[in-house]
């Protein structure tokens, strides 16, 4: 079955279901914390760039931003952009028009982001004083 994303039914469904799911997940996170530990870390013992984002999200929901930054600073910096982009897609489906602007990344900018992620990945795995602050 092919879903017609322009149909009224689908738009209503997404328009109502997505906020409920997001609020439900946020409530779950608020009460129980992150249920899914990083299995990459569990299996390899290495902190991946996403490790700590669950705890960071838990702290953000409780408005403890400093602790959240300690768990995973990249998550705290990047996720607002990703959330904004998802909001843009949500509005595109619900309204039918692309109303929010977003950056158009050039190859160079993408490479910089990539290098930052890889550098963060390497640095946070160095178990010495200034670097282990990245993975509390």
């Amino acid at each position: 079955m092919r879903i017609d994303i322009k149909s009224k039914k689908f738009r209503w469904f997404v328009g109502i279901a997505v906020p409920i799911i997001v609020l439900g997940l946020a409530a779950f996170l608020y009460v129980y914390g992150n249920p899914v530990p990083c299995y990459f870390r569990r299996w390899t013992g290495i902190n991946c760039p996403g490790c700590g984002s669950g705890r960071a999200a838990f702290d953000i929901v409780h408005f403890r931003f400093l602790e959240a930054m300690g768990h995973n600073i990249m998550f705290v910096i990047l996720m607002p952009f990703a959330a904004y982009y998802l909001l843009k897609i949500y509005l595109f489906i619900v309204i039918g028009r692309d109303v929010l602007p977003f950056f158009n990344f050039s190859y160079r900018q993408m490479r910089v982001i990539f290098i930052i992620i890889v550098a963060f990945f390497i640095l946070r795995n160095i178990p010495v004083k200034p670097f282990n602050l990245l993975s509390q």
Partner: protein, 183 residues
């Protein structure tokens, strides 16, 4: 079809461009518009010519005509040719493919998707998706860029599904342990 404004590839039934948001007219509408314009232009030209012919006749009646009459006689065939010209409608621009050499890819959605995957779902696959997105941005020809984006899409899909499955398994394990506590 392609966007008439920015050249982005679109669905055949697209009413708006997904890249720049420009309103897309359907083929028939464009053709109708072209035909209407051509008709209007022909009518206008015909009227002008008629007026000029009328003026020429008026001037013929006066005596100081000799030079202007010749001039009009020379001009009017030219005018008629111009009337004939627009009857073959100009090719509408939407049939043009994007210019060769410039790669037309939108990597931003894949960049965002890769990073979400990398941070939230599955780091190893997310980073593969990110690398392919980078390759798409680096590619100099359209085919390579499309190929790289396709791979980025595949890997990101795998990453998202893996993440979702692991999430569900954890939720089920937790639910199971919570339920079994009663016994």
């Amino acid at each position: 079809m392609y966007c008439t404004k920015c050249g982005a590839p679109l669905n055949e039934d697209a009413k708006f461009c997904t890249e720049c948001g420009a309103a897309m007219e359907t083929e028939e509408k464009v053709e109708e518009a072209v035909e209407e314009k051509v008709e209007e232009a022909v009518e206008e030209k015909a009227e002008e010519v008629a007026e000029e012919v009328a003026q020429a006749e008026v001037k013929e009646e006066t005596e100081e005509v000799a030079k202007s009459e010749e001039a009009q006689a020379q001009e009017s065939p030219v005018q008629e040719q111009q009337v004939d010209a627009p009857q073959t409608p100009p090719q509408p621009t939407y049939t043009q493919t994007p210019p060769q050499g410039s790669v037309n890819v939108n990597t931003t959605p894949f960049l965002v998707w890769s990073i979400i995957n990398l941070v939230l779902c599955c780091f190893p696959i997310g980073i593969v998706g990110l690398v392919f997105t980078l390759n798409a941005g680096k590619a100099t020809d359209q085919a390579a860029a499309d190929e790289a984006l396709k791979k980025a899409k595949t890997f990101n899909l795998i990453g998202t599904i893996t993440g979702a499955v692991i999430f569900l398994v954890y939720i089920l394990i937790i639910a199971g342990s919570v339920l079994s506590m009663g016994y």
